[in-house]
Structures are given as C-alpha cells and as structure tokens.
C-alpha cells in the first residue's frame, strides 16, 4: 500500500498581500514537498478569487504606507507573484481551492466571476471534512 500523502488545510480569510503571501508560500512549499494543499477562501480572501483580485491585493490600512516599498522590493528580489505561486500549486496536481458559498452571496460574486483555478464552491462541512483528516490546519 502506498504511503498516505500529508495534508495542509488553510482557511484564507484575509485578502491583503502580506497574509496572502503567507498562505501561498506555505501552500506552494507544501505541494513542492509532496503534500496536498487545501485552501478554503472565505470573507476577504474570497474576494481575491474574483478575476483580477490577486493582482490588486495590497497591504492593510495600518501598513498601507509601506505598500509601494514592499512591492518594489519583491520585484527587485525577483520574487514570484501571488498568481505565480497559485499556478505552481495548481500545476503540482496537489492543490484544491474551495470558494465559500455564503461569502459569494454576501459580496454578490458569481461562479463565472471567479478565476478558473477554483475547484469547488463549498461550505463549512467540506472544509471540516478535509481539516479533520489534515496534518496541519491554519487560518490566515
């Protein structure tokens, strides 16, 4: 019998650049390590799954004054963009993206508004089902 894959389950609640990087770096490193990454996007996180949302993500109000500097530095470091990291995870075949159904209704987001990488529109049960069997579970 083959060994069971380890599993990372993240709730992506935030839609700001700093936290999204946290989630996507962990998620993409997990897939590079051969682990499954399950990302459940809800509230402000869900909004970045709308086409063009990832590119628009910035820093929260408290750190807004540092946004330009941070973006310049990331470019200078040749750091991957959020979409680059997402595409990597997807290409590994080990990523599953869930979009929170009630959040979509709250923000008036339709399925066709979402980026094509979204696998499933799901509710709390779907996430709990994955998380109950995950090795690492985090809210970002």
């Amino acid at each position: 019998m083959s060994e069971k894959r380890r599993k990372l389950a993240l709730i992506v609640h935030s839609g700001t650049l700093d936290r999204l990087y946290c989630a996507f770096i962990l998620g993409s490193t997990a897939t590079a390590m051969g682990m499954e990454s399950h990302l459940y996007f809800t509230f402000w996180g869900l909004n970045v799954l709308v086409r063009g949302g990832l590119e628009k993500a910035g820093l929260p109000a408290t750190y807004k004054h540092m946004e330009g500097q941070m973006k310049r530095k990331l470019k200078e470091m040749k750091y991957p963009t959020l979409y680059d990291l997402l595409k990597r995870m997807k290409a590994s075949g080990l990523l599953k993206i869930y979009a929170c159904s009630p959040t979509m209704e709250i923000f008036g987001v339709k399925k066709e508004d979402l980026i094509p990488e979204v696998d499933e529109i799901a509710g709390a049960t779907a996430f709990l089902d994955v998380a109950s069997d995950a090795d690492i579970t985090l809210l970002v």
């Binding site: 770096i25 993409s28 490193t29 590079a32 390590m33 051969g34 682990m35 750091y79 990597r88």
Partner: protein
C-alpha cells in the same frame, strides 16, 4: 570521493521558497540515479533543502558551506 553532479542548479540570490521549489522541479526532470548540485545563499536554504530532500525520500549526499554559500549534492533515488 565526491559524486560528480549530472545537473547543477544555481539558486544564488533567491529567497524562500524559490530554492525549494526549483530544486523540486529539477528533481522531477531527472532520471533515477542522477545527482543534482544545488547552490544557494538564502540563510534559510540549508534547513529548507535538507527538509525537502527528507520529505521527498531522496538522498542528500553532501552539504558544503563556504561563507554564506551552501552547496548540496542530492541523488535521485526514487
């Protein structure tokens, strides 16, 4: 005697998670039995690459540090 690498990967100037991701991609393109040399200078790279190789079940043949530069020889065994 040190194994001669079949492939080399330059990760100098790259930061976490780039060295790990690029190492994984390179390993995916290799044949079993081939040896990859990775060079990095991210302070996190030594622990990160060791951990990656362990998780993937590959073989870390050597780790050499010279100043802030670290070189790994990794053998693809599966």
């Amino acid at each position: 005697m040190k194994a001669k690498p079949d492939r080399t990967l330059d990760c100098l100037g790259l930061y976490c998670p780039e060295p790990v991701y690029r190492t994984r991609m390179e390993l995916d393109m290799m044949e079993i039995g081939e040896v990859l040399e990775v060079t990095a200078d991210d302070p996190a790279a030594e622990a990160d690459i060791r951990s990656l190789v362990k998780h993937l079940g590959q073989e870390l043949l050597s780790v050499d540090r010279e100043g802030n530069r670290v070189s790994f020889l990794i053998k693809k065994v599966k």
